[in-house]
């Protein structure tokens, strides 16, 4: 059986340079490659959201690059009518970091899955976050290996029965938000594939952030892990399960906002009934703190009690950095580096010359 597509080929607009101010539309970001995800896959919703959002940023397709890893999520780059690299498993952050270093003028996105980003690629991810490389990283977390047909992932819950763990996974999963915060991430958010309003809001905030921005996207894999996030999306459960974090707002959720998050006397956070504790006791979310401890504490909600899971921006605290200045300096230096400068460099500090006769060494 054979199949061939045209994913690699560019869809171009016929004209080389746009004339006049260019109005970008969703279509500008849609490649003509046929999408090849399973019917009902959450990846479709994320793709649509990203394509729908990008025109608002104003960076044209030719200055946007999507770098993806291997996995179902990794196919993303083929569907964007931007420049794109579908790399190798786990290495997208490395490829993207090199690209961003060489080309600070581009808008560089990384698309990765939970296996790609957190299993084989874990090291590159935490280092990209530590270095605060200006990448927008979309982590499609379906808590399973999709492309390889259903093995356990580092975000699969303990006890999960998969093809590779027929007697249940023995391991505790990573909490991607906590891991990122532990690595020193300056921007960490979580959202859900299906949420047409929340997802673009997270993208918007990530783009506004000067450094590395990680967005964990809960993504349903109807084939190998269907319904993993149903509690957060289904009408009858989501009110009690979903905690929306909003900077500067008291953290409150549930029907009529009856639950909230409060700080216990010992300092740990917990879910409480507003009726019991009073509105004023509610924790006010502050994503902008330099100290990531509050964000970290919030990341533990949901992990521990299983009941309620926060989405939104956990941390958004730009780090002062001279990276942009360094980069600009290097670009300027390169631009003004001439053959004469090269000659000087080749000569170094210690030369001597040999005359035509071979004699007469001098300094």
């Amino acid at each position: 059986m054979s199949a061939s597509g045209t994913n690699g080929a560019a869809k171009t607009n016929g004209t080389a340079e746009p004339s006049g101010p260019r109005v970008l539309t969703k279509a500008d970001f849609q490649s003509d490659a046929e999408t090849r995800w399973c019917p009902g896959c959450g990846d479709y919703a994320v793709l649509a959201a990203v394509q729908g959002f990008l025109p608002e940023v104003g960076v044209p397709p030719e200055r946007t690059v999507f770098v993806s890893g291997i996995g179902c999520a990794g196919r993303f780059s083929y569907y964007m009518n931007t420049y794109g690299v579908h790399g190798i498993h786990g290495r997208a952050p490395a490829l993207a970091s090199g690209l961003a270093a060489a080309r600070p003028d581009l808008s560089v996105w990384v698309v990765s899955g939970d296996g790609d980003a957190l299993s084989i690629g874990g090291n590159h991810l935490i280092h990209a976050l530590r270095r605060d490389v200006p990448l927008k990283i979309l982590l499609f977390n379906n808590r399973i290996y999709g492309l390889t047909k259903g093995q356990v992932s580092p975000t699969s819950e303990r006890g999960k029965v998969t093809k590779s763990t027929p007697f249940g996974s023995p391991d505790e999963p990573f909490n991607p938000v906590a891991l990122a915060l532990g690595a020193g991430a300056t921007f960490v958010a979580r959202t859900i594939d299906r949420d047409k309003h929340h997802l673009p809001a997270m993208l918007r905030a990530a783009v506004a952030h000067p450094g590395a921005a990680l967005i964990e996207i809960y993504q349903n894999c109807p084939v190998y892990n269907d319904g993993a996030f149903d509690a957060l999306t289904e009408k009858d459960t989501r009110d009690d399960a979903l905690v929306m974090l909003e900077h500067g707002q008291p953290i409150r959720f549930g029907a009529d906002g009856k639950h909230g998050i409060v700080r216990r006397a010992d300092g740990d956070l917990e879910v409480a009934e507003v009726a019991d504790v009073g509105e004023n006791a509610l924790l006010v979310h502050d994503a902008h703190r330099t100290d990531p401890s509050l964000a970290f504490a919030l990341s533990q909600i949901g992990e521990l009690d299983g009941g309620a899971t926060p989405i939104g921006i956990f941390r958004q605290s730009p780090r002062a950095s001279d990276a942009a200045a360094r980069t600009a300096e290097l670009s300027a230096a390169r631009a003004s580096f001439t053959a004469a400068d090269l000659a000087k460099l080749l000569h170094g500090s210690n030369t001597w010359s040999v005359g035509a006769s071979g004699a007469g060494a001098e300094r």
Partner: protein
């Protein structure tokens, strides 16, 4: 300083080895002696030898550091086999190096260091300076520590420690006197180095002068030597470079010549780290260096930078090459320029990280899954690393392919004079970046006459495209599982590499030679020296050295077939010979050594002789 009345004998060439404890500053002395020798117009070659440990306990064998210099009044090609003079700053230095000496060689020993304690640390039961064990050699016992202390005595601000540390300068001064070389360059180096530390400067200068003066006055040494300016050297402006510096400069030159910016992503590893250190300093040339989290990331960053239109480079040694394999395979598939530098060291595994070897050739050829051919270039001498780096860049850019550049620890650390090229005469490298074509379609895998594909870098409207490691259809670049297409692409990737234009293999042959000696990479100097000796002895012989290993020069088969006997000499277990045998079905002979050291001229002379 004027030279004194002792007689001066003229020599054609001399090999000096400075040896001492890691803390004794032997590399520094060696470097300065190289400077003063270079400006005299001698040809020269040097080889430092560092201990494997960072700082093994002082006085132990493991802590010995040495620096060898070979200088001559005619062209020379290697740092030399056996030193004529060994400067031994302590018993361990003597013990670790004495076996390299031939009968009659001179040992200049710092006798102050031959204390009972130091002798014991070096594992001597009796003092070799006294027990007659060195009688094959001329031994000069000089109390360098005492004499240095005396020289700095009374200098107001000089601490005893500074004084003690200056004894290496005493040795330098003495050797400069012995070989009749003015110390001016060394002095001005000290001026600069210690500009901020006057007392240290004074101490060092005093020690240097004391060493010279000691030579003039001592009765221990009754005559001097000189080595005249080399006359068979091409005219021009020279400097000394080691392979690391030459590689770095070659990359910067490629960046300037191509108009691309240079991005080096690397992860430290001996001996490749030095290249990172070196390039990190070239901020003024706009060089971006990144110390990546590991070698995989380093390769990925270089490739990502290449996608962005930079000259992406990554450098490492053996273990790091293993890790980069998958990314190099991706680069083969993406068909993007990228330079991978492997500064080979002795393997396998961690092996002997401070020793040299040429055992990564087959890995460079085949060390990736699937059919993933790529060009391989190697460097033959420290200064030729400059050309090799430029050649790697030329191939990578013109053919849109990762290139592996093989150097080795010996090349990286060894120095020689380099005729600085005229930059305006260096060939320009036109990256021929794809331009917007306005046609409405862009085919990223359309090929040109070189079989190379367009390099379309982000920023150009109309050329947006997606590429990846899955097999792609030609020319659209779309994913394809079509059997015929896979065959086509496999063939094209192969044909592209096979079709790379490389210079013909040059043979340096006597008309009636029956034996051809073949080498590749860093054995160049050794093989040429041995060949020269054979000729001096009246033998007829031919020699060729590969600089391009994939593809091989087009005339390779013809040359190999022209000689009844062909000997392939390598610092490995016979890797090139395997490739050549397979390619040409010729019963080539192999001389293959894995001892973590360069081939020696004497050893090769013997091997050649035995086959004449």
């Amino acid at each position: 300083m004027s030279s004194a009345a002792k007689p001066i004998e003229e020599l054609e060439r001399v090999i000096v080895r400075f040896a001492g404890d890691s803390g004794d500053g032997m590399q520094l002395v060696g470097g300065r002696f190289t400077d003063v020798t270079a400006v005299l117009g001698n040809d020269l070659a040097t080889l430092p030898n560092f201990p494997a440990e960072i700082r093994a306990p002082a006085g132990t064998l493991a802590g010995v550091s040495s620096f060898q210099i070979h200088f001559a009044s005619r062209e020379i090609l290697t740092p030399g086999d056996a030193p004529n003079v060994l400067v031994a700053m302590n018993p361990a230095a003597l013990k670790a190096n004495v076996s390299a000496l031939e009968r009659g060689a001179t040992i200049i020993a710092n006798e102050d260091a031959f204390t009972t304690r130091n002798l014991a640390k070096a594992g001597y039961e009796t003092n070799p300076l006294e027990d007659g064990s060195l009688e094959a050699h001329v031994v000069r016992r000089i109390p360098m520590t005492t004499l240095t202390a005396r020289a700095v005595e009374g200098m107001a601000e000089v601490s005893t420690r500074d004084g003690m540390r200056a004894k290496n300068m005493f040795a330098l001064g003495l050797l400069c006197w012995l070989y009749d070389r003015p110390t001016a360059v060394a002095e001005s180096w000290l001026d600069k180095k210690f500009a901020a530390n006057k007392p240290a400067l004074e101490a060092n200068l005093a020690a240097l002068r004391a060493g010279w003066a000691f030579g003039e006055t001592t009765e221990l040494i009754d005559h001097r030597y000189t080595v005249a300016t080399a006359h068979d050297v091409a005219p021009g402006i020279y400097r000394t470079v080691n392979g690391t510096t030459a590689t770095a400069l070659g990359l910067v030159a490629a960046s300037e010549r191509s108009g691309l910016s240079l991005v080096l992503a690397s992860y430290p590893i001996t001996p490749a780290s030095e290249l990172l250190h070196e390039l990190a300093r070239h901020r003024s040339a706009g060089v971006r260096t990144i110390q990546a989290e590991d070698e995989i990331a380093a390769a990925g960053m270089a490739l990502g930078a290449a996608f962005g239109g930079a000259l992406g480079v990554t450098a490492t040694s053996g273990p790091g090459m293993d890790l980069k394999a998958e990314t190099i395979g991706l680069a083969v598939m993406l068909e993007l320029p990228m330079i991978v530098i492997d500064v080979q060291r002795a393997g396998p595994s961690t092996g002997m990280p401070t020793k040299t070897e040429q055992s990564d050739l087959l890995m460079a050829m085949y060390g990736r899954h699937g059919e993933s051919p790529l060009p391989i270039v190697c460097a033959t001498t420290p200064s030729q690393c400059f050309d090799a780096a430029l050649e790697a860049a030329r191939i990578a850019i013109r053919y849109r392919t990762p290139v592996i550049l093989l150097t080795d620890l010996f090349l990286a650390n060894s120095s020689e004079p380099w005729l600085i090229p005229d930059v305006t005469k260096l060939p320009a490298i036109d990256p021929q970046l794809a331009r917007a074509n306005g046609s409405g379609t862009f085919a990223p895998y359309a090929r040109n006459a070189d079989q190379a594909r367009p390099w379309a870098i982000p920023g150009i409207p109309g050329l947006e495209h997606r590429i990846g490691g899955i097999e792609k259809s030609q020319p659209s670049g779309g994913i394809s599982y079509d059997p015929e297409n896979h065959q086509l692409m496999t063939n094209q990737r192969k044909a592209k590499v096979a079709g790379i234009e490389v210079a013909a293999l040059e043979v340096d042959a006597d008309p009636d030679a029956e034996l051809l000696v073949i080498g590749w990479g860093s054995s160049y100097g050794t093989l040429r020296t041995a060949v020269r000796r054979i000729r001096e002895g009246g033998g007829a012989i031919a020699h060729a050295q590969f600089r391009n290993l994939n593809p091989l020069p087009a005339n390779t088969g013809e040359i190999l077939r022209a000689y009844p006997r062909v000997l392939v000499a390598e610092m490995n277990d016979g890797q090139l010979v395997k490739l050549l045998r397979s390619e040409f079905l010729l019963d080539l002979e192999s001389y293959a050594v894995t001892q973590g050291r360069p081939l020696l001229a004497a050893e090769m002379e013997r091997e050649m002789l035995s086959r004449l």
